[in-house]
């Protein structure tokens, strides 16, 4: 068998042709909301959502991903995988310069990887299977893995692995480097100024390597702390783009009805936020599988979708979102069935013991959701006490396993090995930390399946393994899966091509243009 060469660039050309049905116009300024104000813009150091949303324009990764999560070229123009699936060779794009004019080369890639291993927890984790990285010449980077790692091509997106300028960061203290405040990247827009509490201004990179792009002259990211004020800012025309999650769900229908307003749920395929209830498997009534199943039957998830999320999103069927690899809906189903929930509770001998529930302190939507779920559970006879807490307090309680039911949502990063396994394998039980297996589910079979799945080849083998894992998990209900969330992006219709990839608004505005 010869080398499998993926000519991603051809694919990208094909996509661009389709998108060019209408000729893009150059020029114009976009005002977008950024919520909350990011703590910084150096993507290699901080990775909160808003950080990436702004600096996804400044920095770039080697690859980006289509809505179907196929890799597309960005700083790497092509790539190939060796026959034993252990060597990945990336050819870098030539003629790319940093915003300060210095050329981007393979040396920057090598440096970025070393730096990210120190500063970026998820990148460090993603790179664990990497044995060595080498640069035979200025425009070639070769990754050699310890063993085949199926999701490897999924870790090069800008938020997961942003490229950092070696000439500005090498030998410096990363935390205090002055360029953290005025970041230099290779992206389509350059950092211009940041009026704290007011706006962040980015301007067009005139030397961008894709000819003619970006189309926009400037982007203003407006900081508006109050949700109601953000909707008003859109209505009055102060901003043109409301990225997902920046207004309350209740406002979405009203805003979408406004003239010249376009709404899309696209652009979250890579993250695929999945909401669920963490159920404490260790103690109390929820240690009984039947009680956990009763929770699934008791909750009216369609109601939550239609009323609380305004019909956006999708009822989750299990641990994987339907947008990520190896998803299957061939799993046990839990429709809304209070009678069945009651029967299961009775069978499990539940006697009305108190169950503590932690809602998520992320605003109105989540509070209302907590109230609706509480009512659902009370209706089948569960004795729920809501514990009010802030985000930090909630994280602490969850990390200390001091809860019975807790709301959360987590990103899935396109592959079960990157975003799903961490919540169910017993090696991810670590007291004091959140966003891992805090429910305390431990099943040697699941541990083995996820361990095998990460390194199995070919793809069909991985598919088989992960489908089996999903079936077992859905039967055991370690957590109660609620919804695949969709955060609608609201824009004026004159803003075109804002979202072109599975990373959405977080992937930079390089294709966006304004129709005047």
């Amino acid at each position: 068998m010869s080398k499998r060469v993926l000519l991603g660039i051809l694919l990208a050309c094909g996509l661009t042709t389709l998108a060019l049905a209408q000729e893009p116009k150059t020029g114009g300024v976009i005002n977008a909301v950024i919520q909350p104000e990011p703590p910084g813009l150096m993507l290699a150091m901080v990775q909160n959502g808003p950080v990436q949303m702004v600096s996804g324009n400044i920095f770039e990764g080697l690859l980006r991903y289509s809505p179907k999560l196929e890799p597309q070229p960005e700083l790497a123009e092509s790539w190939s995988v060796s026959e034993d699936a252990k060597t990945y060779t990336f050819k870098l794009r030539k003629g790319v310069t940093w915003h300060d004019g210095k050329p981007f080369t393979a040396a920057d890639v090598l440096f970025s990887i070393e730096m990210l291993k120190q500063t970026h927890a998820r990148a460090r984790n993603n790179l664990m299977q990497v044995d060595k990285v080498e640069a035979p010449d200025d425009y070639t980077v070769v990754f050699t893995l310890k063993q085949p790692f199926g999701p490897f091509l999924g870790i090069f997106e800008v938020g997961s692995m942003p490229m950092v300028p070696k000439h500005l960061y090498e030998g410096t203290d990363f935390k205090t480097n002055p360029y953290n405040n005025a970041p230099i990247g290779t992206g389509p827009f350059m950092f211009k100024e940041w009026q704290k509490g007011s706006f962040i201004r980015l301007v067009k990179n005139p030397h961008y390597y894709e000819k003619g792009k970006p189309y926009l002259d400037e982007i203003y990211w407006q900081v508006i702390p109050d949700a109601a004020a953000r909707s008003v800012a859109y209505e009055t025309g102060k901003v043109d783009v409301l990225p997902g999650g920046s207004v309350e769900n209740f406002d979405v229908p009203r805003l979408s009805k406004l003239k010249d307003t376009c709404v899309t749920g696209a652009g979250w395929e890579f993250f695929s936020p999945l909401a669920w209830l963490w159920l404490n498997n260790r103690q109390g009534p929820l240690a009984d599988k039947r009680v956990r199943q009763a929770v699934m039957y008791a909750i009216d998830r369609d109601f939550a979708k239609d009323v609380i999320w305004n019909g956006l999103g999708k009822v989750a069927t299990g641990p994987s979102a339907s947008t990520i690899k190896y998803y299957t809906d061939d799993v046990p189903k839990y429709p809304y069935d209070p009678a069945k929930a009651k029967a299961l509770l009775k069978e499990a001998g539940y006697k009305g013991e108190k169950i503590r529930m932690l809602p998520l302190a992320y605003g109105e939507t989540w509070q209302r959701w907590g109230e609706a779920v509480k009512q659902n559970l009370q209706d089948v006879g569960m004795n729920i006490e809501t514990i009010a807490t802030d985000v930090a307090g909630g994280n602490q309680k969850i990390g200390d396993w001091d809860y019975d039911i807790a709301f959360t949502y987590l990103y899935q990063y396109g592959d079960p090995a990157l975003g799903v396994g961490r919540n169910y394998v017993s090696s991810a039980i670590a007291k004091g930390q959140v966003f891992n297996n805090v429910e305390g589910y431990s099943n040697p079979e699941i541990d083995k399946l996820f361990a095998d799945g990460a390194v199995a080849t070919p793809d069909s083998k991985r598919k088989e393994i992960y489908e089996k894992a999903q079936k077992i998990l859905v039967e055991d209900v370690p957590v109660a899966w609620m919804l695949e969330l969709q955060f609608p992006t609201i824009t004026r219709c004159k803003v075109k091509n804002l979202i072109t990839t599975g990373i959405g608004v977080n992937d930079g505005f390089k294709d966006a243009w304004l129709d005047k």
Binding site: A227, P359, Q375, D379
Partner: protein, 279 residues
């Protein structure tokens, strides 16, 4: 006592206030018996406007919960918080003020500096901090409202006691060898009571407002519905569904108004100078 009721009923504001208070208490006590359904239950489609369905006369909120049921159950929480926290504030404030006023000197200094320590902190800010630290629950809310509202009571009682303790009947009691506790409880406090009662009625109103403000900010007891919570939860949708905020808002307004009117009526009735003029 008869005299008191007579002059109380002669003041129109007092009568209106009393009627409102009695009604509110009746709703709080008996309402939930008439509406046994939990106010958290989702009964109809969300955002149903008021006066469209007889079963949900005041419409439904963002989740389809009955606004009317919420208001009735909310009355319970609001009044309970108002009364209990005022009572707690009196239990702390009256003895502190009485001791400071009666003993004077170093005791007075110590107690008043302690009181001023609380008075220098803006009361609402302190209440927020306390509730946030203690975790929002009905008991922590009552406690924090009591903590921020006792200092005015203490200052008022101290002032009254200071003037009363120089009266001859108090001096007579001292000469006859009665104990300090006895003198404070039997001779001084009963005569200092009328301004305290007036203040207390206003404190109940303030406490209801404080609880509503806390709940509005999301610091209410998450397991109990209250008017402030309803206003806070409906605030974000006020442009689509005004009724979710307006009805509980009006309920807060009326009950606070009622308590203020009672305070005024009590003031008229208990003020010897005013009532003598009426005779």
């Amino acid at each position: 006592m008869k005299q008191f009721w007579k002059s109380m009923l002669r003041s129109p504001s007092g009568v209106i206030g009393l009627i409102i208070l009695v009604l509110a208490i009746a709703v709080a006590v008996f309402g939930p018996l008439l509406f046994p359904n939990s106010p958290w239950r989702m009964v109809q489609r969300p955002f149903l406007p008021p006066f469209t369905l007889a079963t949900v006369p005041l419409g439904t909120d963002a989740l389809g919960r009955d606004v009317f049921a919420g208001m009735i159950f909310g009355a319970r929480v609001s009044l309970l918080v108002g009364l209990v926290s005022t009572l707690a504030a009196l239990i702390v404030g009256v003895p502190v003020g009485a001791m400071a006023g009666y003993f004077g000197g170093k005791v007075d200094d110590a107690l008043m500096r302690f009181t001023e320590f609380f008075q220098t902190i803006p009361s609402f800010a302190l209440a927020i901090v306390l509730v946030a630290i203690l975790q929002p629950s009905i008991s922590s809310i009552v406690a924090s409202i009591a903590v921020v509202s006792w200092p005015p009571v203490a200052r008022l009682v101290r002032g009254e006691v200071l003037s009363l303790r120089t009266r001859e009947y108090v001096q007579a009691a001292v000469v006859t060898g009665q104990s300090n506790t006895w003198i404070i409880l039997r001779e001084i406090l009963p005569n200092a009571l009328s301004p305290v009662i007036v203040l207390a009625s206003l404190m109940v109103a303030t406490a209801i407002l404080l609880e509503s403000s806390l709940a509005f900010l999301g610091l209410g007891d998450p397991n109990l519905i209250s008017w402030g919570y309803m206003v806070g939860a409906g605030r974000t949708v006020i442009r689509q569904a005004w009724w979710i905020t307006v009805f509980p808002g009006v309920a807060i307004l009326i009950s606070v108004l009622g308590l203020n009117l009672i305070g005024e009526g009590l003031n008229d009735a208990l003020n010897p100078r005013l009532s003598r003029e009426g005779r």
